[in-house]
Structure formats: C-alpha cells, structure tokens
Symmetry: C2
Subunit: 431 residues, 2 copies
C-alpha cells in the first residue's frame, strides 16, 4: 500500500526528473556562436561607465579583500574612474563607482574577472535559446595580469592594446560572419584540449578560422599592421581561446538555468571569500561554502602557502561538461598542473557518478568517444559526497599566476543548495 507521503514523494521525483531532463536538453542543446566583439559598456546589460564587475557570487564592497579587492581598485584606475587606488577606494565607498558581480550581468570572469566599461568583450549567443553571454579578453601569457591581481604600466598597456587593436580587428573579422563555437570545441577535445586549462588546439582552430578573414581585412597599411599584431598575439598565446570557451559555457549554463524543479547545477563561482553554486530550479541565489581543496603544481619555487583565492569563474566550463569533466582528453595538461594520466582517467571517470548524461557532442577519445559527463545533479553530489572536479590556475598573494592544479570543491555549498531545494520543493506536507 502506498502512503500519501510516498505518493507525493514519487510525484516530486517525477517532476524533478522531468525538470532535469528539460534543463539537460537545454544544456546539451545549446549552440553557442561568437557573434561579435564590443566594448562591455556598449553591450553588457546594466553596465554603466562607472560599473566594475568582478568574479564570484555577489559580495558587499567591504567584504572584498586581498588580491580581488586590489584588482577591483586597479580596474577603476585603468578605466580612469580614479587617479589612484586610494581615490578608487574612496569613490567606491561613496557609491560613485559601483562594484557588481559578473554573474549579475551575464558575464563570466577569469580569476579576479575585472570588467570595466571600455574593455572589449566577446559576445556569444546561444542560437538555440536566444540568450547571450559575455567574456572579456585574455591578457596574454605574462604571469602578471590584471585578472591575476597585478597592475603596472605594462599591464595597462596590454589592456589598452586589446581595446585599440585586438578588439577592432576581431570585431571587423566577425562582421556579418559569426563563428559557431561548439563544433570547434568538440574538435579541440579530439586534439588534446579540455577547454579549461588547456586551449592550445582550440586557439589553433580559431586562428585558422580567422586567418582568411584577417587576410581580407588587411587592405591598407594601417590595417595590415594591426592584423599582423593580432596574428602575433595568437602565435604567442595558446590560451587565447579560454575566454571563448568560458563565454560559450556561460551561454550554455544560462540556457539551462531557471527550469522550475530542476536540481541541475548551472553555475560554480569563486570569490575571495567563498565557493558558490547556482542551481537551475533555485533562482538567482548562490549557495556558498568554503574554498575548494587544492592539489596544485606551483611555478618557480612557489608553494601552496603563496596561493590566494582572488576569484574565478572559469569553472563554468566544468558546469557544462568540459575542463575537469574532459580531463581524459588532455594528457598534456599534466605538464602544466601535475598528476598522472591514470589519475586523470580515474578523475574523469568518477564524474559520471554525479552527472546526468553523456554529452552528445563533446566526446572523449580515450574513453572510446564516450560523451563527457554533463549535467551535475545536486542530489547526486549529496548522495555520493563527490563534488565536481575543476582544473584551474592559481593566483599568488603578491599578484600574478603562481601555478595550476586541481580544485576539489567542499560539500558545504552543495549542502546549502540541497537544503534550499528541500525547502522550495517539499516532497511531503510535513517537510
């Protein structure tokens, strides 16, 4: 005999399953396309000339500390909103400059993830569902970059070059000819990328796609010079594609967000204080917990003691079946973040336990072209105690990148989300 509670519980399960199928279909069915490049202030919804965006679940300004706080202040100086970091601090305190989370503006942040209005962004639209996401540009391979909390004349010059040379060249090259990203990403997985910490192949494929376009632009000496500079940047920077895989992943995750009853993860984000997750059926709230455990490989004699959490949202790639979910595609990553290939295979394999499906387009050659594990189910994380594995870069206290490695989120944020889910979608009259 079935009790009333069991009936209600079975109905809730059925509703959740249906919702998760819908969210998952939206996630794997997303078709992210690079449609343009523009200044953040011109295209990012809600972005004003005095807005600064930064990575992670939203915090009040006084809560930002260390490298992330510093990066926000540097952003204000770079944008010309303040003459110095002290001035910037005063103006933010006074509300003349507004600090907001990237997540509140359909943006996605690499490490500190600083956006100011004049910075160029990639505009990526999910053609299947119509939503748009944005990511600003990779600054180049120097360890010292604004997104790693560093700022000096060289960093500023690099950012200005992106604005004045890279952005107009890419914008022109995309005019009327958007680039579908999903086929390129699927292909890069066959070429040894996992599209979070390794983007070498995708960068090569993007460059190949852009080459005839750049070629067509070089009709005057001035454009020829610009185009040559852009080609040199690509040649020197194998990481360039990461911002596109992030924007594509953000558009993909957003497409799956907002399905009532769905317990699928649609976001993971780090700020200086916490790791947080977002769930499809739980609205825009972020559920927070302590920072992930770290298994890093440090550059140049740095150690774990030198590491500092200054934000990071590139784990949106793991949210949609890439990065740690595709580690087995990228044995060369060992060189960058340590570990063994056997461990990478096992790590990757274990992710099928907490995901709902195998991606129909993103495949793992080493697993006989099995689809990557995709659609992290909050309840599977709680049931197994296993959290999504993240590949990531590591920032240092004194600024700059000091290593790379594996991030294993702690369970807290997921537990908080599960509690919220139980409250919002009670499975029995008593609960």
């Amino acid at each position: 005999m079935t009790t009333v509670n069991e009936t209600i519980s079975a109905e809730a399960d059925a509703r959740r399953t249906k919702a998760n199928v819908e969210a998952l279909e939206r996630m794997v069915g997303a078709e992210p396309v690079l449609v343009g490049v523009a200044a953040a202030g011109d295209v990012v919804p809600g972005m004003t000339p005095t807005t600064i965006l930064t990575s992670g679940a939203p915090l009040e300004w006084p809560e930002y500390t260390g490298g992330q706080r510093r990066a926000i202040l540097y952003g204000a100086v770079y944008e010309g909103l303040a003459g110095s970091v002290e001035d910037a601090e005063a103006k933010i305190d006074a509300g003349e400059i507004q600090v907001r989370s990237t997540q509140q503006h359909a943006c996605i942040g690499s490490v500190a993830g600083i956006y100011t209005a004049s910075m160029p962004v990639f505009v990526v639209r999910d053609e299947a569902h119509g939503n748009t996401a944005f990511c600003n540009f990779y600054e180049g391979k120097s360890r010292y970059r604004l997104n790693y909390g560093s700022y000096d004349q060289e960093v500023a010059d690099g950012l200005r070059w992106l604005e004045t040379t890279m952005a107009p060249v890419l914008a022109e090259s995309l005019a009327g000819a958007p680039i579908p990203l999903k086929p390129m990403m699927a292909r890069a997985l066959r070429l040894g990328d996992e599209l979070h910490s390794r983007n070498t192949a995708a960068t090569l494929l993007l460059q190949r796609e852009l080459t005839p376009r750049l070629f067509a632009l070089a009709t005057t000496p001035e454009w020829r010079t610009r185009v040559e500079e852009v080609m040199d940047f690509f040649l020197a920077n194998d990481y360039t594609f990461l911002r596109l895989s992030m924007a594509a992943a953000k558009a993909t995750a957003d497409a799956a967000h907002g399905v009532e009853h769905s317990s699928l993860l649609t976001g993971m984000a780090i700020n200086c204080r916490e790791f947080a997750v977002r769930v499809s059926g739980l609205g825009d709230e972020w559920f927070r917990g302590g920072h992930p455990e770290l298994q890093g490989r440090f550059f140049d004699g740095f150690t774990e003691a030198d590491a500092e959490w200054i934000g990071g949202e590139s784990c949106v790639t793991e949210t949609v079946g890439l990065g740690g979910m595709a580690q087995a595609c990228a044995p060369s990553l060992m060189d960058y973040q340590g570990g063994t290939f056997q461990a990478m295979l096992e790590n990757n394999e274990a992710m099928y336990e907490i995901t709902s499906a195998e991606h129909p387009d993103y495949k793992i050659p080493a697993f006989g072209f099995r689809g990557t594990p995709v659609g992290v189910d909050l309840h599977a994380v709680i049931a197994t105690g296993r959290t999504p594995l993240i590949d990531g870069g590591l920032a240092g206290r004194s600024g700059g990148q000091i290593g790379a490695g594996l991030l294993r989120p702690r369970i807290e944020a997921f537990t908080a989300a599960a509690a919220a889910y139980a409250e919002r979608y009670p499975t029995s009259p008593a609960s």
Copy 2:
C-alpha cells in the same frame, strides 16, 4: 675460462652495441628542417625528365603489377612522356622512360609514391648531419588520387594545381626562412597526432607558422588569389603535414644509415610484391618478405577482399619513433582506423621491447611523457618475434583509398636481414 669463440663473440657484441649507439645517436640527433620546395627534376639527385619513381624496394619493370603498375603508367601520361597508358607501357618496355625506386633517389613515397620530374617536392635537410631527403605533395582528401592508383582529369588538374599554385607559394614562403620540423612534430604529438595516420595538429601548426609568411606574399592581386587558394587547401586538408613528417623521417633514417656493424632498422618499404627492410650496417640492400598482416577499418562497405598492395613508404615514420611507435598519443585515430584506446596503449607499450631507446624529443603524454620507442633493433625483432607496428592507409583494387588500419609486418624480411647480418659480421671463425 673463456674460449676463443666466446671472446670473438663478446668483441662482436661490443662492436655491434657501439655501432648501434652511434646509429641511434644519429637517428635521435637528426634535426630535419624544411629548407625549400622545388620541382623533383631540379633537385632530386639522379632524376631525369624521363625518370618515374615509385615506392618500395626496387623491382624490375615487369615485376610491377596491379595498381602500382597502373600508377606508374598514369605518372608517365601526367608528365606528358606518353599519350596513353599503352604508349607509356611501350616506352617503359623500350627503356625510353625509366622506372626507379624512390629509395634510390633519397625520396620517400606515400602509397604508390609516384614522382615525375615536374612534380614539386619538399626539400628537407637534416641540419645535424647534412643529408637531404625529399617528399612530393599530398594531393588532397579525395579517395581518388594518383598515389592511390587513380587517374582522371580531376586527379591531373589537382596535380597541376600543386605544381602551378601550391609549389610556388610555398617555395616563396620558405625563401631564406627554413622551418625546423622537429619542434613542430614534438608539439603535434602533444596535440593528438602520431604523425603517420594522424597529422591534424601538425598541419594546424604548419599553417600557423606559414600564415604570416603567406600574408607577406600577398602583395599583388595575382599572389593574393594564389595565397588564398593555398590557405583554402590547408583548411580543407588535415593530412597535409604527412608528406613533411615522411620527408623528415626519411632524412632522419638516412642519417642513421650506413653505420658499419649496426643492426638498427633504417627503412621499411612496401611495393606491390613485398615488404622490405633496410639495416644501417647492411648497405643499400633491401631484405624482402611477404606483405604485412592487416587489421583494417574499411570505408563505405569495402572489405579486406577489396584491398590491394600498391606500395607505401610512410612506414619510414615508424622507423624513427613515430606512427605506430607513438599511437598512444593519438586516441582520435580510432575513429579512422578502428581499435580501442586500451589496445593502442598496449600496442605502443609493446614496441619498447624491440627498440633501443626512448626518444629524447618525441614524447607520449599518456605515458607520462615517456619518449617514444625508437631505434628498432633487428636482433630484438628476431629474439621476440615481434615486428614494428605500422599505422597505414589501405588502397583498393579498383583504385582509391578504401580504408585505414594497422599493418603488422611478417617476420620473413627481418629473418632475411638477420641472415645477411650474420654473414657479413660473423661472430666466430666457424660461422
């Protein structure tokens, strides 16, 4: 007490070991560099306007049969040496056209490996040892190509385009600026190539290297059009690099050839009648045996019964630690030639049993960056009964490529070589 014979044998072993170390050092120390592109007739030593080269250990003209014979005749027609295949046949019979082995001219042939004097070749010099090798161009991805024994107007037009557009553009782009191939090849192994049956990453890297050069060439409308056509060819043909990896491997193998007492393999080659090997210390003789066993994946409903041996020397890549020796780099290859990744790992691992060293530059990420097995020792092949594993394309009886797969050479050719070695380098007065 040591007998006289044992002493002689120990001395012979020591001589062989020393010779193998030298041959191996030459093999792994080779520095193949793409120095130019030119018509075969202008640069290949001994090539005359009426010479046609073809793959494999040399045969007398009447011995060439089937698709390889047909391809030779087509070559004569393409070159304008004969008006028809019948005419070509008569002129070869009469000695007016000379058929020679690529191997007699420092060339290396893909499948039938037809070279005529007007065909462009890559010129690859081993900068470490000064020797030069040549390979002609990839015809594009059509199943029907001269090197697969096919010929019609489209094949001829494609070959003419290589001659009149591709070759001059590449020649100009290389003028005074040679391209070191080894670093590119080492990198491609990290990007999922094994540089015999998979060259996607290397082709991308080559294209990236060429892009600024091509860009610089496009100064007139005529050159602009040519350059655009070449870029389109690269975009459409992921296999383009194979001819460079073959030329690089040939230059590398040749560098290690001719070390007295060395039992290292310096060549493997297939013609329509046999598989043959060459050994460093055994001069220019080829030791012959039956064709390899085939473990293929056939396209479009073809079966093994449709396959025909029409020649092939791309197994020079295996000779220098690539291809089957680097299979574990290239899980995506399964898609093309079948098998499982586990089998690929095991196949690759087994090759360490018959090789002398781990390559210092060519590394396998999936093996924790262990060097590829390199320097096949004839005596290790005999002792283990294990022959070098070859990745390869498969030709059909009616022309064209009909599949791809693994080739396992039979032991015969190696046994013949071992007998010759024992005869040339006797280890006791009695032997």
